[in-house]
Amino acid sequence: MSRSGKWWLAAALVVGIGVLVWTRPGGKSTPVVPEKSPVPVRTRASQPDFEKERETSDVAARKQIRSDWDELMAWLDSDPAPTKEEIRARLLATRAAWAELDPQVLAEMIRELLASGADKETGLAFKVGPHGFLSGWPTLRLFLLDVLAGSDPEMAAVTAKGLLAETASADEFAVALRSLAREGRGRAANEELTAYFGQMLGHREWGNSVGFAEALDLARVIGSSEAARQLAEWEGNPALRSMALDEFAAEHPEVVLEMKDAVNGIARANLMARVHPDDPAQMAVVDDYLRSPDLTAEEADSFLKSFPLRSATTGYRLYGKTPAPYAYDQVVAGDRAALERVDQWVNDPALAKYRANLISLQQRLTNWTQQTR
């Protein structure tokens, strides 16, 4: 055999052995990269099987949710009955555990559980916590709706639309509506929200529901004159209406002026006192209001003692952000503008009957403007 023939034979043997090793069932090739290489070379072929991993984890997540739910339902019926503190703690823990699961799987499972109609009362009061999520859930269905809103806002909005059409529960209506009302994905148009608001106010039997009460925040979030009008004309709890109108006026004073005649007395004085005095259009309405022959002494007194009203209610709200309607620069500018107008009112014979109140108001505004110099 020639030298070249030997070389070809050797080469063929090497290739042949290599092919055998490579293709032998169960055989192991010599690793190209050492097992503990400091810089492993990652290739597409070395990637884990994402699809299989995901399927496994999705199945596990579904199993966990179902198991948690079944245990929760049974536990609420256990004897001795769990305390409210224990129930609240367990629901919080369940929410935290579910938040770690795949949001899509969680949302699908929650929709299934809601569709099943299964429910239990928890004994907890309906309570709104930070960012409009609940910190008290009277029923497990409300708990599910609350979790759904966090896990998948878009699916929550779709679920909400179905639920709003059929639920007889004020609390469920209120929580479902949140998915359409809060900023971000799933937010419905103002016209749609206004229609739901009117639908809700039409349920007189819901007047004592806490969820219904918290849902009055929707008017402030919509911010339209139509929403304000619906609220002003609502014949329910006057204290609720007053608070909702007040928070509305604090954020949208110009809108409230459009429907000022829909309310009267001290409630109207509170709304009028929230105008921005540095807006000539708003002050023109206030000027007319103060000169109106229909203005009672009590309403005028209430207005002049609080104008420009910058106190407010605040707290966690179901739909909108925690109210913080005023800021320093705006208040200072408003006070200066108000003082200029009040200086005129004090010397206006047509307003002589309010002179004592006007002088007192002038003094307050003078103090405040001096404090900000």
Binding site: R42, Q47, F50, R54, L92, R95, A96, W98, A99, E100, D102, P103, A125, F126, K127, V128, P130, H131, F133, G150, S151, R185, N208, S209, V210, A213, L216, N237, P238, A239, L240, S242, M243, A244, A267, N270, A273, S302, S306, L309, R310, S311, A312, T313, T314, G315, Y316, T322, A324, Y326, A327, Y328, V331, V332, S360, R364, N367, W368, Q371, T372
Partner: protein, 406 residues
Amino acid sequence: MKIANFPVIGIVLLAGTTLSPAAESKTLNPVKVPARQIDEDPFRVNGVVLSGDMRGSGFCAWNPKTFFSAAHVVFDDTAGKWGEPPIWNAKANSKALDETKSIQSRGYYRWTNYSEIVALDGNNGDAFGRDVILGFSFSKLISGKPAVLNLKGVSDLKKPIKTMITGYPAENDYLGVPIDGYYLHKTGPGVTPYKVSWEKALHATLVSTGGGNSGGPIWTRNPDLGWTAAGVLVGGLPSEATVYAFSGDINSLTRAVTPLIGKNLPDSISVGNASASSRFYVYDHSKVVPDGVAKWTDFPISVDGFELGETVKTVKLSFKIKTTHQGDLQVLLTGPGGYGKVIHNEEGAGKDNLILVDEDVSEPFTDIDPTGKWILRVQDRLKGDIATVQYVQLEIAAEGTAVPVP
């Protein structure tokens, strides 16, 4: 206590009519604070709060331009009237108030919600459950630092620890004795654990105050900070007291008032423990996000180290995702309990690498408990460009034990 070093005759003269009955009483009773102690902590931050015909107490805390008091002192719930903003009289301690030292506040924010109204109508609630306001002024209300808040008041007051109520009672409720003038009184110190009455309203027996004391602070003793304000006195009967206890909710109230008290607010500073300080948490493994799959890939970060009761103040997010097409990506940050924020929603088209550095993403997470699992969730929704998350960092600042003192 300094008072023990003074002759008995001095104590009697300084304490006036309330000392002797208090000494005989089995309840804690209001005792006049000696004039020489008025400028000391925690007495120097107290003030009389006047609102129309109402007289109550208050205390300057959190910021020199703000004071806490009880809502029923300043707001006429029955009539629904706001009225004139309350008048603050710092360190009053005389027969009559010195009007030249009075400060007309600019207003107040009242911490309440709609459900409270329904609960009260149905007798399911307690008028004191949310009976707290934070007044604000354009002027400083006291000289020196305001009181430090104990935002764990709601849990601390239930413990057998030393507490004290201060304020300006117009009567001794237990003895039925009127107290003339505007003299600062203290009830305690004493060890009287409180129990839950309704939500944040806590109740104790064997503690007496009196009308006019409403809105005054209940103090707890902190080994590092001295007396800290743990709540507001909101009601009482002879030998009983109800307080609105502070919790993380108060951070929302102070946050709402913050825009009103002027510019150049000092930055938060740490006041003892871990309050208002930042902690960093990192996910530092490189991981490929499945290409063209509309499913989330999670990058979990376990957050711990915060004290019980502390709540999120700020969250800053940093991460680097290596990609050749930002428009493929959706990114979501989830906090404990499911609070979430969309960070990136397929914007950026064909730009390379999605990088965030110290992005403030606080808004949806403020006031929640920071402890637990935070998850950055990423989807690569379009095929063709491989995205790799290279690191994720969270910087979380929380408030709890005490809020910032300017």
